[in-house]
Amino acid sequence: MADSVTGANPEHGEDGDDPSRRDFIHIAAGVAALGAAATVAWPFVDQMNPAGDTLALASVEFDLTKVQLGQSVTIKWRGKPLFIRHRTGAEIASAIKDDKAALRDPSTDEARHKAGKAEWLVLIGTCTHLGCVPTFGGGDYGGWFCPCHGSHYDTSGRIRKGPAPTNLEVPDYAFLSDTVVKVG
């Protein structure tokens, strides 16, 4: 291409200076230009991550006294439903009984609540299949039932039947006092 033009040949200088040094400058310039483009690209990617005000709402505090025994309350956390369930003794017992059953995603009931707080179950309320919101108290195991594709969860939120691959997720949370939990 370039060689076809008279008197205009970038590759072969008339004087014989070191070709590696010549190449180095072109390569360095090209690399630096690519580096500049890459540096600018990152902010344009990062801007799609959650913004400061979104992150600010990433944790919620909740007063448990509002939940009656045997009931479940759904609150919004990070834009998703969060189940806070006040379990009865019978529900806890049935969950523990099933610890040894054949589970798709094996987990003991003990591991799914805070120590000494077996009556409080805090779960992210989206079905692990495709993200629908399971209904409270439905299904064959008395936990939750997902109306979209028929996943059954037990009273510990473990998947027992249906297409969902894993148990309902337990979020990061902590008891700030006996009656207040902080989620996130």
Binding site: V5, D46, Q47, G52
Partner: protein
């Protein structure tokens, strides 16, 4: 695009592709092998700079649209949220806002270069006209973009500009109502401006493709204005002009970055950080700097309709420029008298810009009261803009047509290579100079 191609597919895939969609051939012919005059100076790098500007505005604009809310109650706060909470939102927004100004700096340099070297003359009339279309679309896009943050200047700027159309007889009022979608600039107006502001850059990109296509048919003009005669006059676009444009772009980016990072609001107006209030107009309402010359022409005319017509006429005259300039010599290098008028024209444009940013009654020379001429003091911005506006139109409508017929141009070199090879050697006078003499 322009006939002959030197592209040779090297791999099997390239051969396969070349017989189905010769996109690699197109890229090779227009970006690598394209024969470009070897004497283009730095003024010719603004085309590449403008392509980059368009790219930056498109990418940053698409990103901003992901966070912006086009509603009168949320627009201002959503723009501030972009700058406060969105990751690197401040960078994207300041790039976009200052990018508009950079775009206009580059486009004005590009246009003045075209005017100086006669790049609008045959056979490049359509190339020039497509450029004017791009410029017009740019102005519409920039205006609508300035409305979106919904600050005081956004709002009242939109009111003033849309009211321009009200000057048209009979249909004026209906047109403004139609533009507004209501009885005043309001939420409907903001929504449609957002939609159009998003659309128009893609129209610009489309016209840019036509502009480049036309360029590749006629080939580049060059500072001598002499047509390319042989291969000795040209170099392949790559690497010669990719690296030259690349260097110019990096220098331009230094200026761009200085604005974005250190004085991001210097080219804007403080009042646009006050949320729009339809009940109070800011003390001084001015458009962005790139519209100031046209704003000055508008205000120079005491009649509303005539002012509007003259303002649009200032752009319209660019479209017919190829037929107004009667000279057969392209470059001002060989037109010493007209060159002088050209520089006065540049000054007139600057003066118009200066006047557009001032109050019409302000004194040009502070404190010097002269005498009342018709409606204003002679030493006032309004009279200065009248003189400059008269020169603006006079340059296109009188000077260029007349000079082409009466001037005596210097002799042009026979070819682009000639002035380089012969240096100060005597030019073969008769041969080169005679075709330019007309009359």
């Amino acid at each position: 695009m322009s006939g002959h191609s030197n592209y040779v597919p090297k791999t099997g895939f390239e051969r396969w592709l070349d017989t189905r969609l010769p996109i690699a051939r197109l890229a090779y012919d227009s970006l690598v092998d394209f024969p470009t005059p070897k004497n283009l100076n730095y003024w010719y790098t603004f085309g590449g700079i403008l392509a980059l500007c368009l790219g930056i505005q498109l990418v940053s604009g698409i990103v901003l649209a992901m966070h912006y809310v086009p509603h009168v109650d949320h627009a201002f706060a959503s723009v501030e949220r972009i700058m406060r909470d969105v990751n690197y939102g401040w960078l994207v927004r300041y790039m976009h806002a200052n990018g508009a100004s950079m775009f206009f700096i580059a486009v004005y340099a590009h246009m003045f270069r075209g005017l100086y070297y006669g790049s609008y003359k045959a056979p490049r009339e359509l190339l020039w006209i497509l450029g004017c279309v791009i410029y017009l679309l740019m102005m519409a896009t920039a205006f609508m973009g300035y409305v979106l943050p919904w600050g005081q200047m956004s709002f009242h700027g939109a009111v003033v500009i849309t009211n321009l159309f009200g000057a048209l007889p009979l249909v004026g009022q209906s047109i403004t109502t139609w533009l507004w979608g209501g009885f005043a600039v309001d939420n409907s107006t903001l929504n449609r401006f957002f939609s159009l502001h998003y659309l128009m850059p893609f129209m610009i990109a489309g016209v840019v493709i036509l502009h480049i296509w036309a360029l590749h048919v006629t080939g580049n003009n060059n500072p001598t204005g002499v047509q390319v005669k042989s291969k000795a006059d040209t170099v392949p676009f790559h690497p010669y002009y990719t690296v030259k444009d690349g260097f110019a772009i990096s220098v331009f980016m230094l200026m761009f970055a200085a604005f974005v990072f250190f004085t991001p609001n210097a080219l804007g107006h403080p009042d646009n950080y006050v949320p729009a209030n339809p009940l109070v107009t800011p003390a001084h309402i001015v458009p962005e700097w790139y519209f100031l010359p046209f704003y000055a022409i508008l205000r120079a005319v005491p009649d509303k309709l005539m002012g509007v017509l003259l303002m649009f006429g200032a752009i319209a005259v660019l479209f017919v420029l190829p037929w107004l300039d009667t000279s057969r010599v392209r470059s001002m290098r060989y037109r010493p008298t007209t060159r002088m008028y050209f520089f006065i024209f540049v000054v007139a444009c600057l003066v118009l810009g200066f006047c557009g940013g001032r109050l019409p009654d302000e004194y040009v020379i502070p404190g010097l009261k002269t005498f009342q001429l018709l409606d204003a003091d002679l030493n006032s911005m309004v009279w200065l803009s009248r003189f400059a506006a008269a020169y603006y139109f006079g340059y296109f409508l009188i000077i260029l047509p007349v000079m082409g017929l009466t001037e005596n141009p210097l002799s042009q070199p026979k070819s682009i290579s000639e002035p380089v090879f012969s240096h100060s050697a005597a030019l073969p006078v008769g041969a080169a100079a005679s075709p330019e003499k007309r009359g």
